[in-house]
């Protein structure tokens, strides 16, 4: 038990902070933070699998997150039959061409020796394929995007339950990781970081600009939800009764019936949003706990030991007969799939898909900061990092505002410096996180909860 003391203390402090937000700001706010903390935790588990277990730098987290989000749209949104009628055949044809290209390239790679002729052949196939796709997809895209552009203008999804899309999101991200891994995993660490960063940027720009796929920067709103809607709750009697029971003490003090009705109405509205967020939190918590159990088991299994050996000394592990390339690819896919799952969860939580919001700052670097701060190679640490950094990210502005007011209390309200500082309070979050990373990297490079190796 003693060896888990620091883990337990760290988590107790974290949850106390969130509860304090609930008491001082609002419960709805606290639960939003908790939900995002849980989503961040899933992302950090994914990044930690790659960085902590295997020492692979993946700066492409943004790309997998976006792909997970795309999966939600493609799976859960109802299909748009008019758009399918207008250009569906063309798009399916293009997909066929892509598949044919991949198959023929694979065939050539297998059949021929490495030579100039082979390279030209492959280049020729790619060129012809691209031309065919342009000819096929061009008119298709135009007619799809012309179908009610203000409302749809895209093919829509499959209309399946949204929870299913979480799995699909993980598969999408894993598939992308397979391709990227095949291309880039042989590179040196810092090259890999840059390459993945840029490839993620390509993925996001495709999602942003291919309007027929998921409306691009026009966003998809009103996605399905795995939990009830606030409006339904506010009219269902069991929920109103529940709220009444919870607040009976408060309601008893009020005398007139009409006033009591008004107060109850307000309470029901507040409670409905809290209830919805609580349901989400339950779902997310289940995912986090399942992932935690699986990753813990994996980390202390023979496979986990093998990964650590590869991380710590690639040459030695390779000499011992471990297939380093294969293991790296596997772990790259697994970690990315977890990140894709988190991306799908995030879009589900928001209820909308906004490709324009995927930026490397927020979805790559902040996640990396979480992993580093929390503790590399330690799953509890990674999750804690997600919590701590996300909490700081949200609460940095209020804290900064408080500090600014405190230190400039003696200055008049119209003082130019004070006004300027108060206006720029939101940017103190970058400062806090940056200084946090620098301090951790310097004085506790293993993170808050360092890696623990159990010897058996």
């Amino acid at each position: 038990m003693k060896q888990y003391l620091n883990v337990v203390t760290a988590y107790i402090i974290m949850f106390t902070l969130i509860i304090l937000v609930g008491i001082f700001q609002s419960w709805s706010q606290a639960l939003s933070i908790l939900n995002y903390c849980l989503i961040s935790a899933v992302m950090t588990i994914g990044a930690n699998i790659q960085w902590g277990y295997a020492g692979l730098i993946n700066f492409g987290i943004m790309g997998y997150t976006a792909l997970g989000g795309l999966a939600v749209v493609l799976v859960s949104v109802a299909p748009v039959p008019e758009a399918w009628k207008a250009g569906g055949i063309n798009m399916i044809g293009s997909l066929g061409v892509v598949v044919a290209m991949i198959v023929s390239i694979r065939y050539i790679l297998k059949k021929f020796q490495k030579s100039k002729k082979r390279s030209y052949l492959i280049a020729g196939i790619i060129l012809i394929g691209l031309l065919l796709i342009r000819l096929l997809a061009g008119p298709g895209i135009e007619s799809i995007e012309a179908v009610e552009p203000a409302k749809t203008g895209f093919l829509g999804g499959l209309g399946m339950p949204i929870l299913f899309s979480w799995i699909v999101g993980a598969f999408f991200a894993g598939g992308l990781a397979y391709v990227i891994g095949k291309i880039a995993l042989g590179l040196r660490a810092d090259y890999l970081a840059i390459a993945t960063l840029l490839i993620a940027e390509i993925v996001v720009s495709i999602i942003k600009h291919e309007d027929w796929l998921a409306r691009g920067v026009k966003n998809v709103i009103g996605l399905k939800r795995p939990v009830p809607y606030e409006i339904d709750l506010q009219t269902s009697p069991w929920f109103i009764n529940l709220v009444e029971k919870f607040n009976s003490g408060k309601l008893k003090v009020i005398d007139t019936i009409s006033e009591r009705q008004d107060v109850l109405k307000q309470l029901v509205i507040d409670a409905s949003s809290v209830y919805v967020k609580l349901c989400m939190a339950g779902l997310f918590l289940t995912v986090v706990i399942i992932l935690l159990i699986v990753t813990q088991k994996a980390l202390y299994s023979p496979w986990g030991r093998k990964m650590r050996a590869i991380r710590d000394n690639e040459e030695a592990a390779s000499a011992m007969g471990k297939n380093v390339v294969k293991e790296h690819l596997l772990i790259f896919i697994l970690g990315s799939a977890v990140v894709g799952l988190a991306g799908a969860m995030m879009v589900t939580n928001d209820g909308l898909f906004t490709p324009g919001s995927y930026r490397p700052m927020r979805y790559t670097f902040v996640i990396w900061v979480m992993v580093i701060v929390g503790g590399t190679g330690n799953n509890f640490g990674a999750i804690l990092g997600g919590f701590v950094v996300w909490f700081l990210w949200v609460e940095a502005a209020p804290i900064a505002l408080f500090l600014i007011n405190f230190f400039t209390a003696h200055l008049p309200e119209t003082n130019a410096l004070k006004v300027h500082l108060i206006e720029s309070a939101p940017y103190f979050r970058f400062l806090m996180i940056g200084i946090g990373v620098l301090l951790i990297m310097r004085y506790r490079p293993q993170g808050i909860l360092p890696e623990k190796i159990i010897k058996q």
Partner: protein, 336 residues
């Protein structure tokens, strides 16, 4: 006549913009490559450091304008570059002293230093946004055009106009000056040679009595000059917005790797490869072909390989292709 028109069209819409954009990227790419070659890490704070230097140039430009100081037909910002460079170098040196030097002495792996530079990136971004805010600022004054399209048409009688913005000319001229001084310094002076020696083989360089502190100091000084000049030129040409500078880091990295990271000449050329790639692939050639082809063959589509939305994606794809086939860059082993 049609042939001339076609050439002017290409010059106006692709070659001149690509040259000036390429110069801006090239300065940044040399900055990345120098840090990588001498200090041995990928600096993820590149874009924000460029933005930091530019911020001082912008603030000083506004200050000079309020004093009534100007630079005739040239932008005032050029006057402020020396001051901005000094501030930039001071900032870089203090960052190096308080942050990077610790890991250098400890001989941490490059990955750790890259992570640390992410921390520096956050801090720099915060400082910039707190001082100047996240807004878009234009600080170009003086003459805007050297050659206007209408003037050119009158002069030559061609259908197509040629516009040369003063910022484009300034960018190209200043880049040539800065880069030639830098290459002269690196190749012809003793200190420059010691820097290259340190970059090629640290142990041998130390053994032959090269002072590592001096090399590091010099690297940051050159880096400060390149970062500030590159940033100011970009800001004059487009506008100054902190977020855009952060994003510019990506094509700059692409340029540095395409040129072979650690090789300044490669990075310089890589900047142009990326810029020309981006602009030539996303340009619509319809008009060009209507000029050079006979009327019966005129194209009716835009003749555009990729839409301009994918401008950034093109440079990244160039990078991926280079990484696949020549991971050490297309200008491997090229030296002055």
């Amino acid at each position: 006549m049609d042939f001339l028109n076609a050439i002017i069209l290409l010059l106006n819409y692709t070659i001149i913009p690509a040259l000036s954009y390429g110069s801006q990227l090239a300065l940044g790419a040399i900055f990345v490559t120098l840090i990588y070659g001498v200090l041995r890490f990928a600096n993820f704070a590149t874009g924000d450091m460029m933005s930091f230097g530019t911020m001082f140039a912008v603030l000083l430009t506004f200050y000079f304008q309020s004093l009534g100081v100007n630079f005739g037909f040239l932008p005032t910002a050029l006057l402020t570059i020396p001051f901005a460079v000094i501030m930039m170098i001071l900032y870089m040196l203090s960052i190096d002293k308080f942050v990077f030097s610790y890991y250098r002495i400890k001989k941490s792996p490059p990955v750790v230093l890259a992570m640390v530079s992410v921390g520096v990136m956050f801090v720099t971004q915060a400082i910039i946004r707190i001082i100047i805010g996240p807004f878009d600022r234009r600080f170009l004054d003086g003459e805007k055009f050297i050659l206007k399209a209408t003037e050119f048409k009158e002069m030559t009688g061609l259908n197509e106009g040629l516009t040369i913005k003063s910022t484009q000319a300034i960018t190209i001229v200043i880049t040539i000056i800065v880069v030639s001084i830098m290459f002269w310094f690196l190749n012809k002076t003793k200190t420059g040679t010691s820097m290259r020696a340190y970059s090629d083989n640290e142990d041998l360089a130390l053994l032959s009595g090269i002072d590592p502190k001096k090399v590091v100091l010099l690297t940051w000084v050159i880096a400060g000059i390149l970062a500030t000049v590159g940033g100011v030129l970009y800001g004059l040409d487009k506008s100054y917005k902190p977020f855009v500078y952060f994003n510019n880091m990506l094509p700059i990295f692409a340029a540095a790797i395409v040129g072979g990271i650690g090789n300044p000449l490669g990075a310089f050329l890589g900047g142009y490869v990326v810029a020309f790639g981006e602009i030539l692939i996303t340009y619509a050639y319809k008009k060009f072909f209507t000029y050079i082809l006979p009327e019966s063959l005129e194209p009716n589509s835009l003749m555009q390989l990729l839409s301009t939305d994918y401008k950034f994606a093109v440079s990244f794809s160039i990078l991926v292709i280079v990484l696949l086939f020549r991971p050490s860059g297309i200008f491997k082993g090229l030296r002055l």
